[in-house]
């Protein structure tokens, strides 16, 4: 369930796009510094959004400087830094989530793929342990949530809201991590609804595959997959927008708005097209 939280590029201003890219670049460099060169390939847009959201809420000043991309030295990019440890936190979360993603894939993939994953396994364990050492509480949050999610998917009676709960709860705790007071409460709600959107988008995307393989999918008992999932996802995006409007962002508020409003619904529209296109054929 990676890569759903992205921008809708045509709707962004150039300066906002530059800032977004800057955050992404800075996160990439930080990953390299913290977990070694290879770990940079684990980077996802979700991690970048996490940093954007946290920097948006942060009250300390944000420093912008010019820098170059390591992979392509001719390309210039901005370096956006902040005194707090948001980047380190985002790196740890990326690594830990990637590890659990690998574990998840080990359970359900073909033989050939499994062999490749087993070759990668020790490396993932290594960097996971490094992240776990730095942020044991984060690891515990994800570990517990993933175990719950796994158990829940064995239960055939799990209804929609319940099936999304563990994932939503993980994001709720990650987004509110380190916040205090009123911000924490709202970040919790924000993370929860974002988790629901991501979970349901993923379920919507994988629906056909899951039906074919007879594996768990929360929309299995629904009559019309497109109607049911758009209904559910739209409600959560709406709630996300409402929470967003209640929060005070010091930076990046237009980028965050772009991502939760246009970015998420763009992803949804693409999946709808996939299903609608096949129906008309």
């Amino acid at each position: 369930m990676f890569g759903y939280v992205t921008i809708n590029k045509p709707e962004l201003k150039i300066k906002e796009y530059e800032a977004y890219k800057g955050v992404y670049c800075t996160l990439c460099k930080e990953m390299g510094k913290e977990y070694g060169f290879l770990s940079r390939f684990l980077l996802s847009y979700d991690g970048a959004f996490y940093v954007i959201y946290k920097l948006g809420l942060s009250k300390s000043e944000i420093k912008v400087s010019n820098s170059h991309c390591t992979f392509n030295p001719c390309k210039k990019c901005m370096k956006i830094t902040c005194e707090s440890n948001i980047y380190k936190l985002a790196c740890a979360i990326t690594v830990i989530l990637a590890y659990f993603k690998l574990m998840d894939n080990l359970h359900d993939s073909s033989f050939l793929k499994k062999v490749i994953l087993y070759i990668l396994y020790p490396y993932f364990c290594l960097i996971k342990n490094r992240a776990k050492k730095k942020y044991p509480d984060i690891f515990e949050i994800v570990n517990k949530g993933m175990a719950e999610q796994f158990a829940l998917e064995k239960d055939e009676n799990a209804f929609l809201d319940k099936s999304a709960h563990p994932t939503a709860d993980i994001l709720s705790q990650l987004f509110s991590y380190g916040e205090t007071g009123d911000d924490k409460e709202k970040a919790k709600q924000f993370g929860y609804q974002l988790g629901r959107v991501v979970y349901f988008l993923d379920a919507f995307d994988d629906y056909e595959k899951d039906v074919k393989d007879n594996s768990f999918n929360p929309f299995k008992n629904c009559d019309d997959i497109v109607d049911a999932s758009t209904h559910t996802i739209n409600m959560s995006i709406g709630a996300l927008t409402e929470t967003f409007n209640k929060q005070n962002f010091n930076n990046f508020s237009s980028i965050i708005e772009n991502i939760i409003n246009d970015g998420l619904s763009l992803r949804m529209d693409r999946i709808i097209q996939k299903y609608r296109g096949e129906i008309s054929e």
Binding site: L160, S172, M235, S236, G238, A239, T241, E257, N261
Partner: protein, 194 residues
């Protein structure tokens, strides 16, 4: 504690000062009473909850009872549940609701169940509950408002709220060109130069 107003002994249109005075008086009574300390703490908690509930309503941050009670002739069936919800004790509220015998289950019961679900972020369940509440009592505005807001979102209403500035110069030009083509088909001409 059923009604924070009765508990404090103030009327529904009491001012902030009246509420403060009532609070001090009762707090004094509790401190001077000849009872064990644990009992004192319990009573103080009760008092604080009542005080917060009344003050919040006065300041307009929550509307625990005022508006809603009017719909029921000044008497909500589940005022204790509403109070629990407003003070954030969702589990308590749910326990009370689940304990209600089936003959007492009403539109309000479904509505409050929906509110609890919505607070937890379980929007699908909330949607179903609001829908039931509305079908049982279609004239109630409180239920209708809750249902409509979710229903609007579920149809992508959040998108229309911000995309208003899409019609630019390009749209005007293309509309004019189209109109010109139409006119030419019928033998006339809107824009003489093309």
């Amino acid at each position: 504690m059923n009604n924070p107003y009765d508990y404090l002994g103030v009327s529904r249109n009491a001012t902030e000062k009246d509420i403060m005075d009532a609070y001090r008086r009762i707090a004094g009574e509790i401190t001077n009473a000849n009872i064990p300390d644990s009992e004192k703490t319990n009573r103080m908690n009760e008092l604080n909850n009542a005080y917060d509930a009344v003050l919040n309503e006065l300041r307009g941050t929550t509307n625990y009872a005022g508006n809603q009670n009017n719909n029921y002739g000044g008497n909500s069936q589940f005022s204790d549940v509403r109070q629990c919800i407003n003070s954030g004790r969702l589990d308590d509220a749910e326990t009370i609701l689940n304990g209600v015998p089936s003959y007492m289950i009403s539109a309000e019961w479904h509505y409050l169940k929906g509110v609890i679900h919505q607070r937890r972020g379980w929007l699908n369940e909330a949607y179903n509950c609001y829908q039931t509440a509305c079908s049982l009592e279609p004239s109630n505005q409180e239920y209708a408002a809750a249902f409509n807001s979710l229903n609007n979102n579920s149809r992508g209403g959040y998108r229309t709220s911000r995309k208003t500035s899409n019609d630019g110069v390009c749209n005007i030009c293309s509309t004019l060109l189209c109109a010109d083509c139409c006119c030419e088909c019928c033998g006339g001409d809107l824009i003489p130069c093309c």
